[in-house]
C-alpha cells in the first residue's frame, strides 16, 4: 500500500472511532449497520472479487447467522458461542453450496445461488415452529464482554467495530498469504492454475465457505443490532444490495466493501432530503456510475492516482528538459 493509502486508512479508522461521540442514536444505528454489512460484503468480496465466483446467496447467509444467534441465545447459549456457531454453520453450508461452482460458472452459478436464497427465505417464512415465520424474532440480547455491557447503541457499535477490525485483519492475512494469490489465480485462469498444481476444487470450496462464514458472522451481529428479524430482511433484496456494495466499492479491492457498504447504507439516508425522489436519484446515480467506473469507486480512485502521478512525472521531466536547454 502507498503512503497516501496508509494515511487514508488511519484517518478513516480514527473517524470510525470518534464518529459515535458526535452522532445521535439513529446516526449510531446507521454506522453500526454499515459496520455489520461491511463484514458480509468482505465475505462476498472474497468469493466474488478475489476468487471470481458469483454468489447471490450472501444475504441468505446473513439470515442464517442472524437466526442462529436469535434462536440459540434465548436457550442460554452464550452470545460468543452462538456467534461462532453461526460462522461455523455458514462455513459448512457455504462449502456444500460451493459444489455447484465446480461444475457451472457465471450466470448459471448465479441462478444456483439465487435458488438457495429463495430456499432459505422459504424455510425462514414457513417453518414457524423454528423461526416464528412472518412474525419474526424480537429482542435478541446484546452481549457483555468481560463485564463490559454492550446494551447501549454506542457500546454495541464499538463491539461491532472491534469484530470488523478482527475479521478484516484475518481476511487481510489470508489474502496476503499464498491463499490470496491462489484465489486470484482461480478468478483469472482456473485451467492454468490447475496445471500449476493448485487444487482449484479445494480453493473454490474454501472461497465459498469462508465468504459465507463471514456472511453468517455479520448476521450474528445483525440480530442484536436491529432487535427484530423476520424472513423478508434476508430475501433476495439483501443479497443484491451486498452485491451492489462489492461492485460499487470495487470488486477485488480489499477496502472496496468498506466504501461500497458506506455508499449503500448512508447514501439512501442522505438522499431522503429529496423526499419521494430519493430512490430515483439513488438508482440514477448507480446507473451513471457503473458504465464510467466498472471497477468501482476504488478503481476510479486508483485511476485518478495513476493519472496524477503520470502528470507529475511529465511535469518533472519537462522542467528538467527546460532546465537543461540552451
Amino acid at each position: 500500500m502507498t503512503r497516501a493509502g496508509v494515511i487514508a486508512v488511519v484517518i478513516c479508522a480514527v473517524a470510525a472511532i470518534v464518529a459515535p461521540f458526535f452522532l445521535k442514536p439513529f446516526g449510531i444505528f446507521l454506522i453500526s449497520t454499515w459496520v455489520v454489512l461491511t463484514i458480509a460484503a468482505i465475505g462476498l468480496n472474497l468469493t466474488l472479487g478475489y476468487a471470481g465466483q458469483i454468489s447471490l446467496a450472501q444475504g441468505a447467509f446473513v439470515g442464517i447467522g442472524a437466526y442462529t444467534v436469535a434462536l440459540l441465545t434465548p436457550l442460554g447459549v452464550p452470545f460468543f458461542v452462538a456467534f461462532l456457531a453461526a460462522g461455523l454453520l455458514c462455513f459448512a453450508i457455504g462449502w456444500v453450496l460451493g459444489y455447484p461452482a465446480l461444475r457451472v460458472q457465471h450466470h448459471y452459478l448465479a441462478f444456483v445461488t439465487l435458488a438457495f436464497t429463495t430456499l432459505v427465505f422459504l424455510v425462514l417464512r414457513n417453518e414457524e415452529w423454528l423461526t416464528n415465520g412472518i412474525y419474526g424474532i424480537t429482542g435478541t440480547a446484546r452481549p457483555a464482554l468481560f463485564g463490559w455491557k454492550t446494551g447501549g447503541a454506542r457500546d454495541f457499535y464499538f463491539l461491532c467495530l472491534g469484530m470488523l477490525a478482527l475479521l478484516s485483519f484475518a481476511t487481510w492475512w489470508m489474502l496476503r498469504s499464498p491463499w490470496g494469490r491462489a484465489f486470484i489465480a482461480l478468478r483469472e485462469n482456473p485451467i492454468r492454475a490447475l496445471s500449476l498444481g493448485l487444487d482449484t476444487r479445494r480453493y473454490t470450496l474454501m472461497a465459498f465457505a469462508i465468504g459465507s462464514s463471514l456472511g453468517g458472522l455479520s448476521g450474528a451481529l445483525y440480530a442484536p443490532l436491529v432487535q427484530f428479524i423476520e424472513p423478508n430482511s434476508f430475501a433476495l433484496g439483501l443479497s443484491l444490495n451486498l452485491l451492489l456494495m462489492v461492485i460499487v466499492g470495487g470488486s477485488g479491492y480489499f477496502f472496496g466493501p468498506f466504501v461500497g457498504a458506506l455508499v449503500a447504507v448512508l447514501l439512501p439516508e442522505w438522499l431522503r432530503v429529496t423526499h419521494g425522489y430519493y430512490l430515483i436519484v439513488y438508482a440514477t446515480a448507480i446507473m451513471i456510475m457503473m458504465p464510467f467506473c466498472p471497477s468501482g469507486l476504488l478503481g476510479l480512485a486508483e485511476r485518478a492516482g495513476r493519472a496524477l502521478a503520470g502528470s507529475r512525472a511529465l511535469k518533472k521531466t519537462s522542467m528538467h528538459t527546460e532546465g537543461a536547454g540552451p
Binding site: 489470508m174 498469504s177 492454468r192 496445471s195 498444481g197
Partner: protein
C-alpha cells in the same frame, strides 16, 4: 535410458471424430522430443490427454512407470509434470514475481502451512533466480498483463519450470513470437535443459525451432504417428514432406 513418459495406444474421440488414434511413444530421461504435424493432427489433444485436461477414450499413460491416466492436472503437476499452453496463460493482474511464486507455491508445505507461513511461500529467492535466468529482471514488479507478447511467452515458460519439474510439455512455445525473442527463448530452453537435465516434449509449427531444439521428432497426421526419428531424418522423410511440410 529410463522412460519418463510412456504413452500406449492412446485414443481420443469426440462424437464421431477421432482426434488421437492409437498413439504410442516413450520419452526418455533427459531428451527433448518434438511433436509436429499439420493443424488438426491431434497434437494438442494428445497433450491434453497426457496431462489430464481431457479423459482419453482408451489407452494408458505412465509417468516414471506409474499409471497416471485420467489423473487431475494438479496431481500430475505435483508428480513433477509441468506444461505451457498453446495460447498465452499468465495471470495478467499479478506481477511477474507473483506469477512465478504462484507457479511453485503449491509444492511448498501443506495448505494450512501456506496460510500461516511466509507470503512468498519461501520462494522469493527461487523466483528471483528464475526471473534472472529468463532475463526478466527489469520487469520483476510489472503486472504480467502489461508485458509484451514475447515477454509473456518467456514468463509463461519460466512458470512451467518454477517447481523444478522432471518433465515439461511445451505447447507451441514459439507461436506468435518475433525472431529475436524466439532465439532468446530457444537459447534459454537449451540452457535450462543443459543445466538441469530436464526432459521436454515440445509441440511446435516453427520448423527451425524444432530442428534446433529437439533431439528426436515425432510426426502426427490425422491422429496417428506417421514418422519418428532424428530431426535431420524427419526433414528428408518423403512421407512427412507429403503430409506436413508440403515441399
Amino acid at each position: 535410458m529410463n522412460a519418463v513418459l510412456e504413452v500406449s495406444n492412446l485414443r481420443k474421440t469426440f462424437g464421431g471424430i477421432t482426434a488421437v488414434d492409437g498413439v504410442s511413444f516413450d520419452v526418455r530421461d533427459g531428451e527433448i522430443l518434438g511433436i509436429i504435424g499439420p493443424n488438426g493432427s491431434g497434437k494438442s489433444t494428445l497433450f491434453n490427454c497426457v496431462l489430464g485436461q481431457l479423459q482419453p477414450t482408451a489407452g494408458e499413460v505412465r509417468i516414471d512407470g506409474k499409471p497416471t491416466t485420467g489423473m487431475r492436472p494438479c496431481d500430475l503437476n505435483r508428480l513433477g509434470v509441468s506444461r505451457t499452453f498453446q495460447l498465452l496463460q499468465v495471470f495478467p493482474q499479478l506481477s511477474v514475481r507473483d506469477n512465478l511464486i504462484l507457479a511453485g507455491q503449491e509444492h511448498q508445505g501443506s495448505m494450512a502451512s501456506r496460510l500461516f507461513g511466509r507470503t512468498d511461500a519461501g520462494l522469493g529467492d527461487a523466483a528471483s533466480q528464475m526471473i534472472e535466468f529468463f532475463r526478466l529482471s527489469h520487469l520483476v514488479g510489472e503486472q504480467a498483463g502489461s508485458l509484451s507478447y514475447g515477454q509473456q511467452k518467456l514468463l509463461d515458460a519460466a512458470m512451467a519450470f518454477m517447481a523444478g519439474p522432471r518433465l515439461v510439455l511445451l505447447d507451441e512455445p514459439a507461436g506468435g513470437v518475433n525472431l529475436t525473442m524466439l532465439s532468446n527463448l530457444r537459447e534459454r530452453l537449451q540452457a535450462y535443459h543443459a543445466e538441469r537435465k530436464a526432459t521436454f516434449v515440445v509441440i511446435e509449427h516453427q520448423m527451425e525451432f524444432v530442428m534446433a531444439l529437439c533431439t528426436r521428432v515425432l510426426v502426427l497426421a490425422e491422429g496417428r504417428i506417421i514418422a519418428e526419428g532424428a530431426p535431420q531424418e524427419i526433414r528428408r522423410n518423403p512421407v512427412v514432406i507429403e503430409a506436413y511440410l508440403g515441399h
